[in-house]
């Protein structure tokens, strides 16, 4: 009887260990990838029937699909990197203004071959994806660009290209990649490597938040750069920060499984910046240039960096990841 109980307990313990990866795949990654594929498909369909950039159903569909991308934007490995799919979905930051240049060229040339899925998939990455579509929908110049018919056909091709990429990413995750992570033999040689990949994506997401989504518009006190905020044209800059934090929160908690203290610490450390991000009341992060508001955005960045420090010092070692000897160095 005792023996049975012991073996049940040890079985449960094994399952709990294995559960960490399964739970992250089944509760987080796979549903999120499915949501992205579905809302992107929806966007492609709506874009095919409505051309007027200001139309509410079109903006809603665009917003939903973009939301779904931001929720997975930290998962930059495997299926998103095949054939540069993620770069084709999100070419940002665009420090050299390649996106508007590419779109202007498309409109000027009005090449019908570009409008086929194959033709468009071959075109410059800077003219594809959510940020390019944002120009077409929210930038006054592009949203009213002529010729009207070509512009409509182009935005349809762009939305369809987004849907095709999102579908391919989802298909790879569902078809094979999730199983490769579960089996942990082959691409990943053991469970530790799988957990390290997930941990790395958590770090990537937080780094992206602190350095890009917050750091780029913050610039310096003397030289704030509000026009560098992510997706400011559509007023989504603040929203993306909240979405990203909300997506990283459950991932961090799941990776801390088995360590109740750390789970609670992480939970609290996420609640603070999430609440602060929600309360900013600054959709475009224009406050970076207003001394009276800037400190709140700086405080948010600090909280994200505190979170990174906690994750590096307390979560990393439990997953066999030590602070980078070379990666944190510079020489």
């Amino acid at each position: 009887m005792l023996l049975t109980l012991a073996s049940v307990l040890s079985l449960t313990a094994t399952n709990l260990q294995a559960d960490m990866v399964d739970e992250i795949l089944d509760d987080q990654i796979l549903p999120a990838m499915q949501a992205l594929a579905e809302s992107s498909q929806d966007l492609a369909e709506v874009a095919g029937t409505i051309c007027r950039p200001g139309a509410t159903p079109l903006r809603d569909a665009y917003g939903q699909a973009f939301d779904d991308w931001i929720r997975v934007s930290h998962l930059r490995f495997g299926p998103t990197e095949t054939d540069n799919r993620a770069f084709a979905l999100v070419f940002w930051p665009d420090s050299r203004g390649k996106t508007p240049k590419t779109l202007a060229k498309h409109l000027r040339e009005a090449d019908p071959d570009l409008l086929t899925p194959e033709g468009f998939a071959q075109s410059s990455i800077a003219g594809r994806g959510f940020y390019a579509l944002e120009f077409m929908y929210y930038d006054g110049h592009f949203a009213s660009a002529e010729p009207h018919a070509y512009r409509c056909a182009l935005t349809t091709a762009m939305a369809q290209d987004i849907a095709a990429n999102a579908a391919a990413i989802h298909q790879d995750w569902q078809g094979s990649y999730a199983d490769q992570m579960r089996m942990a033999s082959g691409r990943y040689q053991n469970k530790t490597e799988v957990k390290q990949e997930l941990y790395k994506s958590l770090n990537t997401g937080l780094q992206m938040l602190a350095d890009m989504r917050l750091g780029r518009p913050l610039g310096s006190f003397d030289k704030p750069r509000p026009k560098r905020a992510e997706a400011w044209r559509s007023g989504r800059s603040q929203h993306h920060i909240t979405l990203a934090l909300q997506a990283l929160h459950p991932l961090a908690i799941a990776l801390a499984e088995g360590n109740q203290d750390l789970m609670e610490q992480l939970d609290a450390a996420f609640q603070k910046p999430i609440l602060r991000a929600q309360r900013l009341e600054d959709p475009r992060l224009e406050g970076v240039a207003d001394p009276a508001k800037r400190f709140r955005i700086e405080a948010l960045q600090q909280e994200v960096n505190d979170l990174r420090a906690l994750i590096e010092s307390d979560l990393g070692p439990s997953l066999g990841v030590l602070a980078g000897f070379n990666s944190l160095d510079g020489d």
């Binding site: 665009d94 790395k200 350095d211 980078g324 510079g330 020489d331």
Partner: protein
């Protein structure tokens, strides 16, 4: 008491001992600095398959090393701002001599021997004057300092010996960044920085200076590799805003314009603006760069400049040309062989391998 070095030199002078050569070592192919799990630092000699042939303790964190062309002797450099360079007998790891930079200078972590092995050149910071310096040391007289000359820029880092038609040259990556030990590793001149790749004669005459377009003036040229035909590969580190779309790797054949690789390929972003080490493939058809920040090795085709392979590898930094492909080292203790699309672990040591793998050729 006769020092070991003095004793050996005496033997050599009397012709009683055969001159030791690299062949005595049973095949160490690379040198690399590392941190042990107890926090101490060392220099190791590695075989072609990543086995440790010898280790020698270092007083603090190392960076790169220079191998003597004839004798099994190497100089291990401290990480900048380096206060020492240790001469090591690679047959057994014995410590032969310690070089200290002149007052007001520090080492940058790289150096190279003259082809005949009589002189050692070291990249140095003359920090009171904000000048890049190449220090010259006479090997045959116990590594005595015999002079110095300007490096052709500010912040010289990596330096390699380039042979052309009988005239050896020093190729120097002047990173362009001014630092002063009083302010740690803080960068003092970013708005004005102008990195370059300089070619100097062994006497210090500037023969050629390559600078990139002014819009890339924040891209610090830091590490070098040399192909069998004398083409220089250079790896850069971006000092500007994160997220910019930038070249990290370039090729330079003096007399022709520099070629920046993979320009416009979004995957360059995966390197996070930071090239750590650079090496050519054994056949020169490809050149690779490591990015510890991106946890990645990117391999590019030399003739087209296209990215042909990405190898994800956590905390990778050291990289060198091996006989069958490329060899890489990581801060997690791995020695990896990279051939085609496969990355295979050769060895795992309980050490954190530091920035560079230096080939002993």
């Amino acid at each position: 008491m006769t020092s070991r070095r003095g004793f050996l030199a005496g033997l050599l002078a009397t012709g009683l001992a055969p001159a030791p050569s690299w062949a005595d070592l049973g095949g160490p192919a690379f040198l690399a600095a590392a941190r042990q799990s107890d926090g101490h630092f060392l220099l190791a000699g590695l075989s072609e398959t990543g086995a440790i042939r010898f280790t020698c303790p270092l007083p603090s964190r190392g960076h790169a090393a220079a191998a003597h062309p004839l004798r099994p002797e190497a100089v291990a450099f401290a990480r900048r701002p380096g206060r020492f360079a240790d001469v090591i007998d690679c047959r057994d790891g014995a410590h032969l001599a310690r070089l200290e930079p002149p007052l007001g200078h520090h080492f940058y972590g790289h150096g190279v021997f003259s082809p005949d092995g009589t002189r050692l050149f070291t990249t140095e910071n003359d920090y009171e004057n904000g000048r890049g310096i190449v220090g010259v040391w006479q090997v045959t007289r116990g590594y005595r300092r015999i002079g110095s000359f300007g490096s052709g820029g500010i912040g010289p880092h990596d330096m390699v010996l380039r042979h052309t038609q009988g005239m050896p040259q020093l190729a120097i990556a002047n990173g362009g960044i001014e630092t002063h030990p009083d302010s740690g590793r803080a960068k003092l001149n970013l708005p004005q920085m102008r990195p370059n790749l300089s070619l100097l004669s062994l006497e210090g005459q500037v023969l050629d200076v390559m600078e990139l377009d002014p819009e890339l003036h924040l891209n610090s040229i830091r590490h070098l590799a040399l192909s069998s035909t004398g083409t220089l590969g250079f790896a850069m580190q971006w000092q500007g805003d994160p997220g910019a779309d930038l070249p990290i790797l370039g090729l330079y054949q003096p007399g022709t314009p520099p070629q920046l690789l993979a320009e416009g390929d979004p995957r360059l972003r995966n390197l996070r603006g930071y090239g750590g080490s650079v090496a050519f493939s054994p056949d020169d058809q490809a050149i690779a760069v490591t990015s510890p920040r991106g946890g990645l090795v990117q391999v590019m085709e030399t003739h087209s400049g296209k990215i042909i392979q990405e190898h994800p590898l956590t905390d990778v930094c050291g990289l060198a040309t091996a006989s069958t492909g490329l060899i890489a080292s990581t801060g997690l203790g791995q020695i990896m062989t990279l051939t085609g699309d496969t990355a295979k672990q050769l060895r795992h040591h309980n050490l954190a391998w530091d920035n560079h793998l230096v080939p002993l050729t």
